[in-house]
Assembly symmetry: C2
Homo-oligomer: 290 residues x 2
């Protein structure tokens, strides 16, 4: 299956045949004080810089989350989407728990954006799927529902089936739904990684859709989180993961290496291209970084 | 399947249920001028230091290769095995293309060592299997034969079956044979990684034996080899690899992280233990490091 996102001029295809798609996670104030402060003070240069740096580091898509308590999230979402559109020409992933903020982002975003996210929760399905359909966007579906996060891979796959069914009912094609199986901390439960990996395998085999992960939860509460995040990314890619919301500066090299080893990078072109790009630094189209 | 190696006092079990076993690769002069010079000049302090450092970094077993053109390999093998026996109490992996050197190592090694290696080549099977049987050792079987390295996973598995059959015939039980599927460079052939991974999966499913890899060949000729070696280790572990001859200082952290994510490390005990060991440095039993 191929899912194609668009910015103003650029198409990015997420494919179950690879290569892997990197969604840059850094434009998100959750747990990032400097980003929260930038949003509060309106320091948009910092946001532009983060955007450009992520693209240089290998991001194919940029996640945009502007949720800071007390700020007007819909207005800020539209504003930040607008400034990103002006400085990097790659598709955006609009990230918010608020349907109103997502609606504002969808109106401001170029091309065909990604919406992060619906889940199996009734209220989100009812509110968001029609918005996604109307805008012709792509949506991420998290594998949790009104009962919480199912404990077993089988039960998580049932939520995926529910989300796909409800999307189809409003006219969203299956390739425009990307399933996110959710990663829990292996620090809290040593079987948590395996549950997510098996869920990915089952979704890959049975549903064949693209699969996303916000891959840094797995290491929560553990020392040397980079080792756990790196290993988890590679394991998940082998299981069937096709994109991830992650830090491109930390994980693009290992992702390109895994693609190469999985036979998805002829003549190691992308791997070597990424290595050279890292060596020489800035080489990205910046439209409006004044 | 469980394969148990012994030093003088310590048992190390390589198991298809994990956790993963690390064989330290550094005592080997191939491509390491300092090691070659140490062997030529008889600078055994350097070898002791390498041994202790590898154990501290997480090695469960130590590979011993002393092949330097012009030196008396069997005598040197016996000597180095003796000094390692006196300074680190972990099982050894005797590594040589020379049956005479392996025989000398087997006579000097404590407990139940690992022999690296036989292959499907007739001459090696005939010469080495009886030595392994007589000494009660464990042997690594490389998936190549008199025709070379087979191109397909199926053909490599056929070599594994041949090696296991021949071992059984001389009285070596299947758990005392560890299969090495061989890794070729993905720089030269972008499908090479996938062939090795599929071979590991097939051996794991059909033969159920322990599987080893000298994991740094995959990255030969590529830049940033650490990224490729790291990704390959994790992919191979997911496919069914149970031990590897590798650099413990570089790969133990990611190996422990992968074990944790694969549900083989309850309460993250080994992962956190390794992290603490790395933080505090030396804490190893050194019997004779004067």
């Amino acid at each position: 299956v191929k899912t194609t996102l668009f910015s103003d001029k650029k198409a990015v295809t997420i494919s179950t045949d690879g290569p892997f798609t990197v969604v840059g996670e850094k434009i998100n104030p959750t747990g990032r004080q400097k980003m929260a402060a930038a949003l509060e003070s309106g320091d948009f240069d910092y946001i532009r810089e983060l955007a450009v740096r992520q693209v240089q580091a290998g991001a194919d898509v940029l996640d945009v989350n502007v949720g800071v308590p007390g700020l007007d999230e819909p207005a800020l979402m539209a504003q930040v989407v607008g400034l990103l559109r002006a400085c990097v020409d790659i598709p955006l992933c609009l990230d918010s728990p608020s349907p109103v903020a997502l609606e504002a982002g969808l109106a401001a975003a170029p091309g065909k954006p990604l919406v992060n996210s619906v889940s199996g929760e009734e209220k989100r399905l009812e509110t968001l799927l029609p918005l996604v359909k109307e805008r012709g966007a792509v949506v991420i579906g998290l594998l949790m529902d009104d009962e919480g996060i199912p404990a077993t891979p089988e039960a998580r796959v049932a939520v995926a089936e529910k989300i796909l069914k409800r999307a189809t009912r409003v006219g969203i094609p299956p390739e425009d739904v990307i399933i996110d199986p959710l990663a829990m901390s292996v620090g809290a439960d040593s079987q948590a990684g395996l549950v997510t990996l098996r869920t990915i395998q089952l979704i890959h085999e049975r549903l064949g859709v693209n699969i996303n992960l916000g891959a840094s939860n797995a290491s929560f509460g553990l020392p040397d989180r980079a080792a756990v995040n790196t290993a988890f990314m590679v394991l998940a890619m082998f299981a069937g993961l096709t994109c991830a919301i992650t830090d491109p500066a930390k994980l693009t090299s290992i992702i390109r290496a895994a693609d190469l080893l999985l036979g998805r990078d002829e003549y190691a072109r992308r791997y070597i291209g990424h290595f050279r790009q890292r060596q020489k630094g800035p080489a990205v189209v910046v439209k409006d970084l004044a």
